[in-house]
């Protein structure tokens, strides 16, 4: 009995933090319609800033806390002013979501650079001795968390429900166009809501920091928990996210207390899936206000990459010859290994391109398929001595099964909800790879994985692996190209931009989405297996959620919807840190910055931009020669 009370109290404390993050998420979502993935990163940023002020600078605690909250708020405002708010003016919702994924990565990278990768534990606000309340031991920090949460929640409730500012924010949320016509400065309101959200996140992070260990990449965990809380609670009412957070916290603690901590993640994911299927508007939402989204009008202009004609074919052949020639030019073994990894990751990016670039289904869980493929084949090959080829096939089969289940569950979800469901899937796989220690070797990884082999042919050297992967890529690209340039690819593209119109043409939208998911899973899994065989080692962080973001960065940097563009992105992101070793620390920061900058300034990617420039150049040339051409046609 006592244990149950203890667990529930622990759950409420954790739930308070989830509620705060959910509150921040729903505040931004209500005003802009965007789930801000960077929300959790502000928690960590605030907490670590507080640590520095308090421990390193030795400031008195209240001052340190105040300064950390203020610092995080200003940081949030700067981020919003330079990226989020301007992006809203012209980016579609899916790109905005990816922009916030970039911000999450960017802030994590910044945290890594500033604070390093070690975990931090900050001192509690009022000593370690728990309070004894009727025989139940309550850590005083828990009371602090509950108190701070209550104050923040009440203050937000007052501002949102009782003030003119709250009404204006509600107007922006319901109908931004109307709000703008009424003279409400929507960008400023957005900025304000972003700042408030960052502030709330910092408060939550600082309050909970003494109870957990924080490191640079804990942010995505918080974002995910907050998101699940928002979905479970619903965004339409103020109380929804708060109730959702508390509910999630208590449920998770109960699951962790009575079953295992591994099970807690499963419970959270289960809760998410049940809610999405059963009550998509949220368990605690009475009704859902309809959003008139002006930004649905925004048309995304992106370069059209046309594979027809001889030009692209010749360019492709030239590219393959150039790539095949590389091993004869390069003698550096380390560089050769990096090139192999580039190609292996490119396979995963190719799958992501079909799913995201063509079918427009944003997935933040591509690395999870790498993990499934990698671990399945590695375990089979290492522990059971299954030949690599068969082990890889088994990984693909398992990934395919997971993809089908995932796509069935997420079939009705669009945009942010789909993206976050895939993120939740990714995080679940992450926790399995870490938690199933007996199978996966846990955090320290799986060692002694054999080299890849096709029958008796063992691909032991990087060069052999390089040629094999290159050949594989040529085959994959040709197969995908065949699909993408015909009715299948057109159907995917139609679904990407307008599911309604696609259905009106008789396109079976669910079946095509599922096919795209399957292709992404197969290629992700294949890539994960090759990765494990190539490295002879596999650890959870090699195929964890940050890898998903990295794959997206590669895809977007190169240009999505171009198949081949991802190669540029994969090469840049993989090779640059290898070539300039000191840059390794800045890798996460750079990936985040790339995502943000590309989405902000170069939404069509490098290859897309290049194609656009070429077509503009060709157009200019045509213009120059057009008068003569027209004159020729005259009778």
């Amino acid at each position: 009995m006592d244990q149950a009370v203890q667990i529930i109290i622990g759950g409420i404390v954790q739930g308070c933090v989830f509620a705060l993050i959910a509150l921040g998420l729903s505040l931004i979502y209500r005003v802009t319609g965007i789930i801000n993935l960077a929300q959790g990163a502000f928690c960590i940023f605030g907490a670590l800033l507080g640590y520095t002020f308090q421990v390193t600078f030795n400031w008195p605690m209240p001052l340190a806390i105040l300064a950390a909250v203020a610092g995080t708020t200003v940081f949030g405002l700067v981020i919003a002013r330079t990226t989020f708010v301007p992006g809203l003016a012209y980016l579609p919702n899916s790109s905005m979501l990816m922009l916030t994924a970039g911000l999450l990565t960017f802030i994590e990278g910044l945290t890594l650079v500033l604070w390093g990768s070690q975990p931090y534990a900050t001192p509690t606000f009022s000593g370690e001795r728990p309070l004894d309340i009727f025989g139940v031991l309550v850590p005083t920090q828990g009371l602090w968390i509950a108190g701070i949460s209550a104050i923040v929640i009440l203050a937000t409730w007052f501002v949102m429900g009782r003030t003119a500012l709250g009404k204006a924010l509600a107007a922006c949320a319901e109908n931004p166009m109307a709000a703008q016509i009424m003279g409400i400065d929507v960008p400023r309101m957005t900025l304000m809501s972003y700042g408030i959200s960052a502030m709330i996140a910092a408060l939550g992070g600082i309050a909970v920091a003494p109870l957990m260990s924080f490191q640079f990449d804990t942010g995505s965990f918080f974002t995910n928990a907050g998101f699940i809380a928002v979905v479970v609670g619903g965004t339409s009412s103020f109380i929804g996210p708060v109730a959702g957070g508390l509910f999630l916290g208590v449920t998770e603690q109960l699951a962790a207390g009575y079953v295992s901590s591994l099970f807690a993640d499963g419970v959270a994911l289960g809760l998410l899936i049940i809610t999405l299927l059963w009550r998509p508007q949220g368990l605690f939402a009475p009704r859902r206000a309809r959003r008139h989204d002006v930004r649905e009008d925004v048309r995304v202009h992106r370069a059209i990459v046309d594979f027809r004609g001889h030009g692209p074919a010749l360019a492709g052949i030239a590219l393959v010859i150039a790539l095949a020639a590389i091993p004869w030019v390069i003698n550096d073994g380390g560089l050769m290994s990096s090139l192999v990894i580039t190609l292996i990751l490119f396979i995963s990016v190719l799958g992501l391109d079909v799913l995201m670039g063509y079918a427009g289904q944003v997935s933040l869980g591509q690395a999870a398929f790498m993990a499934i493929g990698g671990y399945t084949s590695a375990i089979l090959a290492t522990t059971y001595g299954v030949p690599p080829l068969a082990a890889t096939s088994a990984g693909i089969a398992l990934s395919l099964a997971c993809a089908l289940v995932l796509s069935l569950v997420t079939m009705r979800l669009r945009g942010a909800y789909l993206a976050l469901a895939t993120l939740a899937f990714g995080l679940l796989v992450d926790s399995l790879t870490v938690g199933l220690t007996d199978l996966t070797g846990g955090p320290s990884g799986l060692v002694g994985i054999p080299s890849f082999a096709i029958g008796p042919l063992v691909l032991a050297s990087p060069t052999a692996m390089y040629f094999f992967t290159l050949a594989l890529i040529v085959v994959i690209v040709l197969v995908l190209l065949g699909g993408m340039r015909s009715s299948f690819g057109r159907a995917l593209q139609a679904i990407r931009t307008d599911q309604t119109a696609a259905a009106a043409l008789g396109i079976n939208v669910p079946a095509h989405k599922m096919a795209a998911f399957a292709i992404a899973a197969v290629l992700g899994s294949l890539s994960g297996s090759l990765y494990a065989f190539d490295f002879h080692f596999l650890s959870p962080e090699m195929v964890a959620t940050p890898r998903s973001f990295e794959l997206i960065a590669m895809l977007i940097l190169g240009g999505d919807g171009t198949l081949i563009g991802g190669l540029i992105g994969a090469a840049l992101i993989t090779l640059l840190p290898t070539l300039f070793q000191p840059l390794a620390l800045y890798k996460t920061l750079a990936e985040g910055a790339i995502l943000v900058i590309v989405f902000r300034y170069l939404p069509e990617g490098l290859l897309g931009r290049g194609a656009w420039l070429v077509s503009r150049l060709a157009g200019a040339l045509m213009e120059t020669f057009a008068p003569t051409a027209a004159a020729d046609k005259l009778p």
Binding site: A164, M177, Q180
Partner: protein
Amino acid sequence: MLEIQSLCAGYGAAEVLHGVSLRVAAGEIVALIGANGAGKTTLAKTLAGVLSPSRGRILFEGREINRVSAHERIARGIAQVPEGRQIIGGLTVEDNLRLAVFTQRRRLGSAAIHSRIAEIGRHFPVLEERMTAMAGNLSGGQQQMLAIARALMVEPRLVVLDEPSLGLSPVLVSQIFQLIAGFRQRGLAVLLSEQNARMSLAIADRAYVIEMGRVVLEGTGQELLNDPAIAERYLGVGAGSASGDDEGARLRRKDLVRGLAPILGRGSDSVRS
């Protein structure tokens, strides 16, 4: 009062207005008539400051306002009654009215805002009765009244109305038009975009006809009302055949029919001659 000089505007790469020029004098009702997609709503949005023009100038009381923000335009006296009413359904009628002066709330003070709402109540008895009701629960006609009342809250000098008769029954439409005609007595200038050409021309001092993003005709309301071309195109009077019945057209049609047949998978037997 308002002068628009060769205004070009649109959404991203798609330009909708190709050089529109018009003016509205103080206390004048000017109607803007044209079909769906002619550019009336784009013009209204550009005037509101929601879209920025790619070329041309908008002058209000002699000063260029091209780069003036939406809320500053309202403060200067341009109020909007947008297409589709665009009221905030999740807030009460009174909150909707209050939000209209949100950006000026400190300057005006709560007493002034209160008296303006009371004044609106006197002019719109329908709204007076339902001040605390959710705006989303009002009927279509009441919502339109609210949208107009909301524009009047800022005590504008120019009201831009975009399709105020949209989706209203004939009785309500004439009520709305009488209300707009009454603005003249208050000395308000009105720019009225309407598909209902007959009603808007009847109350307008002057009118512009806009087609494909260009002004193709202007005149007084009466002149346009009596113009046979307008009568046919917009008033549905004496609509004749749009395509000529000459030999060329007939041949072209035959080509079309034959050209389409294989694409539509029709044998020659199923095609009507």
